[in-house]
């Protein structure tokens, strides 16, 4: 099957005064039609920047982004506009991502108008249809964001992203601003809509529970690079990279009787201004060896469609 989206060796560096911030340092990923993939990592790991380059909210410094085989990374904005409706985004904070002065109806009619749909009745009927899909009703049409609850706002955000029938939806932390029960029903809704519309999702998050319930494949990012990738069930059950292990073991378990061993990282994420020469985790890794500081490990293929970038794993495989 032809991939829907291919990101090839994308780098994104920002200038910040005299410094260069290396936000994304050569990441490659592929998303197939109908696939739900997660990109996880902690703040500053470059996951949001990656999604912003795919959406052309910012231009990559290097690398290619192919949508159905066509490079969209350097396409002029006017030409790219034709692809906009096909690649959509659901934002993290529904309070910030909805224009406070627009009613639900106005928010949802804008993407349709931009697609060239003119008829008032057609627009209205499509909006009502979409609202129904996200479990809202016609009574919400004339409400302003402040008149909606957090969960309802996020539903409007989801409706806005899906109303143009996109092939790829980027979900940027779609549940992290929501309370627990609301979070659950939003995950549930996203899963249901994915089955119905058969769009691909790229979920950007640090919440492993959302990943578990929504995605089939996961990629773990650290300091602008992918350090581990593979099917969710396998990566979660048997993480290879020390960072993935630390990340998974840090999630609190809601069971007071299990006292599990935590893999501790030392200190903080290094600054993306001056990247370490070797492995980016070397300074924090409890298992680091001298060579980890010398040479940067490549992303290696492992059996079962898994990939890991760690010197220690390289040996595990070769031996």
């Amino acid at each position: 099957m032809e991939p829907l989206l291919e990101v090839k060796n994308v780098k994104k560096w920002f200038r910040s005064g005299r410094d260069t911030v290396h936000a994304v340092n050569g990441i490659s990923l592929t998303i197939h039609p109908g696939e739900v993939v997660a990109l996880v990592g902690e703040s500053g790991c470059g996951k949001s920047t990656t999604s912003r380059t795919i959406l052309r909210l910012t231009d990559p410094t290097e690398g290619q982004i192919l949508y159905k085989g066509i490079d969209i990374s350097r396409m002029p904005e006017k030409q790219f506009r034709a692809y906009r409706s096909k690649i959509q985004m659901v934002f993290q904070d529904p309070t910030m991502s909805l224009n406070p002065l627009f009613t639900v109806k106005r928010t949802l009619s804008e993407p349709l108008r931009l697609q060239g749909i003119k008829g008032k009745d057609e627009i209205e009927s499509r909006i009502i249809q979409m609202l129904k899909k996200v479990q809202l009703g016609p009574e919400h049409l004339d409400r302003y964001p402040r008149q909606l609850s957090g969960g309802q706002r996020q539903r409007v955000g989801i409706a806005r992203a899906l109303i143009t029938d996109p092939d790829l939806v980027i979900l940027d932390e779609p549940t992290s601003a929501l309370d627990m029960s609301v979070k659950l029903s939003v995950i549930n809704l996203l899963r249901k809509l994915q089955h119905e519309l058969n769009a691909s999702y790229l979920l950007i998050t640090h919440d492993m529970n959302t990943v578990k319930h929504l995605c089939s494949r996961v990629m773990v990012m650290y300091l602008g690079r992918i350090v581990e990738a593979g099917p969710v069930s396998e990566v979660f059950a048997n993480p290879k990279h020390p960072y993935t292990r630390a990340l998974l073991s840090a999630i609190p378990v809601a069971d007071p009787t299990t006292k599990k061993e935590r893999i501790r990282l030392i200190g903080d994420t290094p600054s993306p201004v001056s990247l370490p020469k070797g492995c980016s985790l070397a300074d924090r890794c409890p298992m680091a060896e001298p060579r980890c500081k010398e040479r940067q490990p490549e992303l290696q293929h492992l059996p079962g469609e898994r990939m890991v970038a760690c010197h220690l794993v390289e040996e595990m495989v070769s031996s």
Binding site: L57, R81, S85, M96, S97, N99, P100, E110, R146, Q147
Partner: protein, 291 residues
């Protein structure tokens, strides 16, 4: 519980709260109510006043020069025997018109220019901001004096001069708001839909950025009244014999020394009341926002 988010949900809802009552507004915000009542009075005077006066503002009556205020002439008469109350009332129309057009022009042009500066940044912002700095380095009144002196003194040029003088404030306010808003997620969302940059700026962001500039309007109205009168007083603005408060004060000043205080006094009161009206509203609006 997070108090700050909860209050944030409460305050904006006030605007279309059905239970919003004037009695409460009156009790809590004396400045705004007083200002609004005065404004209604001023507008009524400006609209209806000229229909009710018995005299014409330009009707001279050689026998009635410098008559002190009396029942026949409530505010007295001036050097040509013109009825001062008639002239003050007629001038209200002109002066309010100047204030409104100056403010509207400064507001519209200033906010749009400020939006461009804040939204596009880079050299656009550089050029606009430096220009604003240059304009702000002159006191507004001196600047307006310069412009009228250059363009010639008629009504249209007074309006242009004053709006140029006040525009920098609007540019700065809108630019600052725009800087805060341009990275808002809803702007990104609009871009993801394929909305053009100019449209994002004008349709999505500008209405959200306009608040402080709107609040500035009332203050500017007061300044415009004062400065328009000032320009006429110096002979750089509206010219005699037009019924205008500044012109009347300018002409009346020398009469004060010969004892005919009323020729300058009443137009002066009109200026004070009008400026106070707008300042009260400005204070009231600020208080409303703080509540």
């Amino acid at each position: 519980m997070n108090i700050s988010t909860e209050t944030a949900e409460v305050t904006p809802a006030l605007r279309n709260d059905k239970r919003f009552r004037f009695t409460r507004l009156f009790k809590h915000n004396v400045s705004l109510t007083t200002g609004l009542i005065l404004l209604i009075f001023l507008v009524l005077v400006a609209i209806l006043g000229p229909l009710l006066t018995q005299h014409s503002p330009y009707e001279t009556s050689p026998g009635d020069q410098y008559m002190a205020p009396s029942l026949a002439h409530l505010f007295g008469t001036d050097e040509f025997g013109r009825d001062i109350i008639t002239r003050v009332i007629h001038a209200a129309r002109l002066d309010l018109f100047i204030a409104v057009s100056v403010t509207a022009l400064a507001f519209v042009v200033g906010s749009i220019v400020g939006s461009f500066a804040g939204f596009y940044g880079g050299w656009v912002d550089m050029v606009i901001s430096r220009l604003v700095d240059v304009l702000l380095s002159f006191p507004a009144f001196i600047l307006a004096m310069g412009v009228t002196a250059m363009l010639g003194n008629n009504l249209q040029n007074v309006i242009i001069a004053l709006s140029v003088a006040y525009m920098p404030y609007f540019i700065r306010l809108t630019r600052a708001e725009m800087l805060k808003l341009r990275n808002a997620e809803f702007a990104d969302a609009a871009r993801c839909m394929g909305t053009s940059k100019v449209k994002i700026m004008l349709v999505h962001l500008l209405p959200n950025a306009i608040g402080p500039a709107v609040a500035q309007c009332t203050l500017t109205m007061g300044w415009a009244i004062l400065d328009a009168a000032g320009l006429s007083f110096l002979g750089l603005g509206i010219q005699a014999p037009t019924a205008e408060w500044g012109v009347m004060i300018g002409n009346g000043v020398r009469d004060i020394f010969s004892g005919e205080w009323w020729t300058a006094f009443f137009p002066g009161i009109a200026v004070i009341v009008t400026v106070m009206t707008f300042n009260l509203i400005a204070i009231g609006v600020r208080q409303l926002k703080e509540d």
